[in-house]
């Protein structure tokens, strides 16, 4: 019987084309939006994780309390050992120490007088260790505008915005003016080997990047770190897992009576990120539901019209001895076939579009560079992302909506008296 029905569907294009088309289009849209949203959110999570939060990070309770002030006097001590412990305990993450520090950058002229001066936020990253993935995840090679990456502790990269503002050229040296972790006034000379642009809006407005060894020299922070950041090896943020990990770690390692005890934070604990995580999940669920309802209503109506056109057929089938239930079931089987065909084609199209947007991306630079807030870390180019779930996500709404739509339409068969259906044969 299924073979018989499939033959009919394939031949009667006029009857099956529009439902298939509706399913195809909506499924393609679901797949594409899902891919696009996933891409944007994942890149947003990753950008945020790379620049500030990690997927998880460990710091002292005291540092966390005042983290806005970059209070390196409250930094983690014995970072080497802590790194080793974290790597041992959570092997599916990689861990990296970081020192974040703020101060003034002074650019001297030939006489040593100040030529330009301005505030800077510096990141001491682990650029040099073998196996460190910092250069990879910061995509520094791609984001380098001029020059080369630092090779020595005293070398630094400036964001091109900061370099332009201070009028610094490659090879020149800049003086960092600030305080050590022990609160003492300090100056330290960095030589500028290159400039970079993160293309994430205004986050890198005042940014300087150095190796953590340079930061340790400048701030007298031997074996200390502001934070130790952890990243999932796959670079995908898994909210539930990160939250569970942070809860578990804090239960075992954090001591609420000791402000210098370590504490772990998940990406969602950072400013606004929790909201983003929740938003992303809600957005996907709502989108799915809306599409489901739209497809269902459209197909319901189409099913009704089809049903009307097919009363003759239905009456004839009742006459040759199908029961109402059989006719109803065969309509459902037809709708499953139609939903399936539409979903397969739609998934193909959606994946194609998603793949295209994954490779090409949507450039938002101008809009984002105009923003002044540095709170939201967001890439200027939106990339979609092809994930495994895109291959099956369309089937749920695609087939379900077709079947539900047909069931609603098919109720008419049950409501109508058999003799009434039969009457329509006469005309």
């Amino acid at each position: 019987m299924i073979k018989f029905l499939t033959k009919g569907i394939l031949r009667d294009r006029s009857r099956s084309l529009i439902p298939v088309l509706v399913v195809t289009l909506t499924v393609a849209m679901i797949v594409f939006f899902q891919g696009f949203l996933t891409g944007i959110l994942n890149s947003m999570f990753l950008d945020s994780a790379v620049v500030s939060t990690g997927h998880v990070k460990v710091t002292t309770r005291a540092y966390e309390e005042e983290s806005q002030l970059l209070p390196n006097d409250l930094a983690l001590l014995g970072s080497q050992q802590m790194m080793a412990e974290l790597s041992g305990q959570y092997a599916d993450h990689f861990w990296t120490p970081r020192i974040t520090f703020g101060g003034l950058l002074d650019v001297p002229d030939e006489q040593g007088e100040t030529r330009a001066q301005g505030p800077a936020v510096a990141f001491g990253l682990d650029l040099f260790s073998a196996g460190s993935r910092q250069i990879e995840i910061w995509e520094l090679e791609r984001r380098l505008v001029e020059g080369r990456l630092p090779a020595k502790p005293e070398e630094a990269l400036l964001s091109s915005k900061l370099a332009d503002r201070l009028g610094v050229r490659l090879g020149e040296s800049v003086t960092f003016i600030g305080s050590t972790m022990h609160g003492a006034f300090t100056t330290f000379n960095f030589s500028v080997t290159g400039t970079f642009n993160l293309k994430m809006g205004p986050v890198d407005k005042n940014m300087m990047l150095v190796d953590i060894s340079g930061a340790r020299l400048a701030l007298d922070m031997d074996d200390a770190a502001s934070e130790i950041l952890g990243y999932k090896n796959s670079l995908y943020y898994e909210d539930e897992e990160a939250v569970a990990m942070r809860t578990d770690y804090n239960l075992n390692h954090s001591d609420s009576t000791n402000i210098f005890s370590p504490t772990m934070l998940a990406l969602r604990d950072a400013n606004q990120m929790g909201m983003m995580v929740d938003f992303s999940m809600a957005a996907m669920a709502i989108m799915g539901a809306i599409f489901l309802i739209i497809v269902m209503i459209v197909l319901w109506n189409m099913g009704l019209m089809n049903g009307l056109r097919r009363y003759g057929e239905i009456g004839m089938r009742l006459a040759i001895g199908e029961s109402k239930g059989q006719v109803f079931r065969s309509m459902i089987v037809e709708s499953v076939i139609i939903g399936f065909i539409g979903t397969v084609i739609g998934t193909g199209i959606g994946l194609g579009l998603t793949y295209y947007m994954q490779e090409v991306g949507l450039d938002y630079s101008e809009a984002l560079e105009g923003l002044t807030s540095t709170n939201i870390i967001m890439s200027n180019v939106f990339y979609a992302q092809v994930t495994p779930e895109l291959f099956y996500i369309g089937f749920i709404p695609g087939v379900l909506a077709t079947v539900l739509g047909t069931m609603l339409a098919g109720r008419a068969i049950y409501k109508r008296e058999m003799a009434q259906l039969f009457k329509e044969l006469e005309t």
Partner: protein, 235 residues
Amino acid sequence: MQNSAVVTINHLLKQFPVGGDYFTALKDVTLSFARGEFTGLVGPSGSGKTTLLNIIGGLDSPTEGTVDVLGKVLDNTSHGDRALLRRKHMGFIFQSYNLLPVYTVFENVELPLILNKVEEKEREKMVKEAVEWVGLTDKLNSRPAMLSGGECQRTAIARAIVHKPELILADEPTANLDAENSHHIMKIMTGLNRELSTSFIFATHDEKIMAYLRRIIHLDDGQISEDERIEHPQG
């Protein structure tokens, strides 16, 4: 099965609700059809011919009275049982042929056999046999759109007889056909009636059909006004 009657009807009353009232379509109909009969229900429009056929076919149910078809009292059977009875033992032919447009002649005729879960090999044999009866062997793979009205109706007849039913109900089977095709079809059906002893009940007001009938039941306003036997019908 008493005295080999295919259908026995006793004091049948059929009323349709119309507004708050009832419209009486059939009144005190008592009838029986023997095996192998070739009978017509004849009467003016609205006299209740189609209603009676539908009740015999189990597509509609009586308001009062009993209807016994092929040994089953229809009142006591479920929708499913009645569907089974139709599927196995009855064939229907309509004024409009009700062929499925996307299927070929072969597939249209095959459908009742698929429903009866006949095996594919056996199906092919039975379909070919039925199509041969109606003389459409050369059109097996045509779609209804490519057939003439007469050919469509012959396909519908093949569909009605393919599973060798005991009883065929035909409602105005010639109404859409010209004289030549009407005679052709009536000849096919008298042939089937003779060779396979299939019982036929027609509803009609077509003079051409009446010439072939061996029994004519006249309906008037829902009542039997005359039950006429014809000794030497044409055909």
